[in-house]
Symmetry: C2
Amino acid sequence: MRMSAGSGSPAPILINGSWRPARALETFTAFDPSSGRPLPGVYPVSSFADADEAVGAGRKAAGDLALVSSAVLADFFDLFARGILDRGDELVETAHRETALPAEQRLRTSELPRTTGQLHQAAESVRDGSWRQATIDTKFNIRSVREPLGGPVVVFGPNNFPFAFNASAGGDFAAALAAGNPVIAKGHPSHPGTTRLFAEIARDCLEETGLPRASVQLLYHLKPEDGLRLVAHPGIGATAFTGSRQAGLTLKQSADSAGRLIYLEMSSLNPVFLLPDAVRERGLEIAAELFSSCSLAAGQFCTKPGLTALLDNDDGRAFVSAVVKHFQSPPSGFLFSRNGREAVEAAVENIRRLGAELLAGGKLVLEPGYRFENTLFRISGERFLRNAGELQVEAFGTVLLLVCAESEDVLLHVAESLEGNLGIGIYSGSAGGRDEAIYDRLAPILRLKTGRLLNDKMPTGLAVVPSMVHGGPYPAAGHPGFTSVGIPPSFLRFTALRCYDNVRPDHLPPVLRDPNPTGRMWRLVDGEWTREDVP
Amino acid sequence: MRMSAGSGSPAPILINGSWRPARALETFTAFDPSSGRPLPGVYPVSSFADADEAVGAGRKAAGDLALVSSAVLADFFDLFARGILDRGDELVETAHRETALPAEQRLRTSELPRTTGQLHQAAESVRDGSWRQATIDTKFNIRSVREPLGGPVVVFGPNNFPFAFNASAGGDFAAALAAGNPVIAKGHPSHPGTTRLFAEIARDCLEETGLPRASVQLLYHLKPEDGLRLVAHPGIGATAFTGSRQAGLTLKQSADSAGRLIYLEMSSLNPVFLLPDAVRERGLEIAAELFSSCSLAAGQFCTKPGLTALLDNDDGRAFVSAVVKHFQSPPSGFLFSRNGREAVEAAVENIRRLGAELLAGGKLVLEPGYRFENTLFRISGERFLRNAGELQVEAFGTVLLLVCAESEDVLLHVAESLEGNLGIGIYSGSAGGRDEAIYDRLAPILRLKTGRLLNDKMPTGLAVVPSMVHGGPYPAAGHPGFTSVGIPPSFLRFTALRCYDNVRPDHLPPVLRDPNPTGRMWRLVDGEWTREDVP
């Protein structure tokens, strides 16, 4: 994506149920990552006036949405999922063009079903309502429940999941709307055509189900300063951002200073620790797994392992050799943008400058398209510790740093030096073996550094289940108490906890009245979880 | 409280289990609010070195506390509650001297039982463990639970509840420690002797139960700039602050910029809306209730109603006359400090300057002690709306602004103009009467402005039950998704959501293993709340 004067009429934006021209002074085009050439289609960089209008319409929609039954909201999600499937070919084709992600293995057979699956799960959770944690204390007649925020949620979609994290169809979209908040999608400018298709389908489904027109609105792009104003807008309910640390922290500062909620899922190295018996027993197998996880989508997963720590012994060195072989293969995919490739180049240069030894790759691959060699570095534990902060910079590509620790103590110090991460894995040897003693020292350190601790498994895959935590301590995320993946817990980010104190029965929302509103909703009544009516 | 050179040896601070002299260049004394005279006892204003040492010790204690069984942690709370009762006379006497709150009706018979009750409730919740929301998805073997933050929680206690919100014994203290985090109490400088007594009892109970020594530490006071550094310290887990908006927002900015969690319970007007039939049917009764709520503890409740809105009709004018009579009584209590009295004076001057009509009081009361007349203002709805922002400034005393709206529409506009509040009440007439139509228009507006909506009840009283919400939208609180009162939900502020993905059974914390760890803990297993073992 680059700014350009563009040619042709810019694509319309979706405001308050209508597709209309943006008030924009600039336009942009998307690029085909496999060729580096601009794609057809010109998109507007909205002025702040567009964003402001979306907030106004979204705020009104928030009030109207509060009057919609959960059954109707759930129907919207199911209908939207079916509408997406109906236009699956078009979506896959468009996203493939804009991202160069494999059309079949990735987009059609993996990411599309995940996306529609998330929407169906959202429908189910909305229908059920248990996620709202309705709490009733009969003795005092006080009743609390999680309610929508009262204003639209701005969703900044990332570049790397054009479907599953799309600003107008993905996880944050589903979570914000399922919790009852209108969404203002700020699409990622690398795949505007894909985002537009989703918004088209969503708009039709809003109309069909009778949801408020401004429940889903779309802006393709904003100038950075207008993005900062938007997240601080007094009319919004919250912001959800998935993307780089730099952009995320800038938005956070703006939102924080205005007292606006913002949830951030930022960069992460997702370190993997390999204990000595694991390396000895199944080093070759782990090396293959590690490379596969690291190179998935050309290393552009937010859960990609970017650092692997192990002991520098004979087994460790054999393991490193095995990993080198994998990394010597040619890059299997494309980076999403020219900027992305430049960022990988800068990250690689940074790692080299800080004294890591280059074992494979290290250079960009010449035209066509945006590619970078699979790149592997090795550094000793002691040397890593001297620059641990600077070495923990995400390289969004197939780039891995092997930290070979001189001793178990050094391995523990490496663990202690880590920043907050989304995921951290530990591989250990056969149960009851010598690795257990190291595990017991290492795990308590690593546990505090991540939202998700894995055993014997690479961090890239994320199951969308209630127990999933995709989040973690700062700066992996903005708040360690929430997850951005997992339905329904990801909804909780977009709710206010509200209580009704001595409120008359007729004035209570149905969810808090004595009869169970659906006959199956879990509620915490006088300290007991129950599906019964309040007696 | 004023800074002074002081005389005598300053009181020791509690760091890492030992009472030791502070590293302080300044000292302060507390004052008797009923006389304005300094009390015996000199207390240190700690240097940042004291705070830094407390963080270091607290961080280590956080690791040790994670190894303590919940049974032992629960025992600490019960023991602490009993220890407080044992020294109840001394506590009541000291707090009465430092705050001038009534020793019997308030401190001994109301606030002390509430405080020990909170601690016993915390013990019960810790033993039970259900609040941790353990979530297990067996198909994927992913398991999540709420865990302590990994560093100490800094608790800034307010001046107005020397027991129930005390930094070393109150609600935030209990919530942070019950969630498994060590506490660094930053006592309120208006009642250092009371805070010291609690810390003494807590320290003995830590020793007796074998909890880590640094689980409770105490600093009496910090310079403002050192407070800002402390809440941004990378070693802390979070901060809980209860107090003024000005101090809270300054701390928030510092914590936010460092990516540190901070929970704030700031000022609030807690408006009460009186619908016309309610005023007609029981105006006299409501007038008495309103004055009683407003003047409780000389108006120094964070839930004190500071604004009451009603229609300007015959019934409304009769109601105003009734309220005036109540406010003409002499002030029944003392303000906590000279600064507090100055702040009330400034707030009253502000309301007057903005065109409200003074109906009663308005002046400070001369010596002895810190007193201010019960003060009542009236303003028309239209006039209120012209300066709605500036008129929403908390006056921490018996000060009330009556907003007399010209019409129902004006009443609704007044509602729309409100900032975030901790509590908002609506009084309406007999069920099924004419007020219902107004209620239906008013309640959706007010619902978004507060964490707690009340019917036919003044906001001052807070039951400590799971459904209580003491919080609300910014700027009443920092995050609308949490409550600072209510056990166990208030614990959730001080937790990280963490998952175990494919983690081996032996590596799981007991709370997530297949057998129910207590036989009675509620866990969400495959989408169902259950107390059974995982099959």
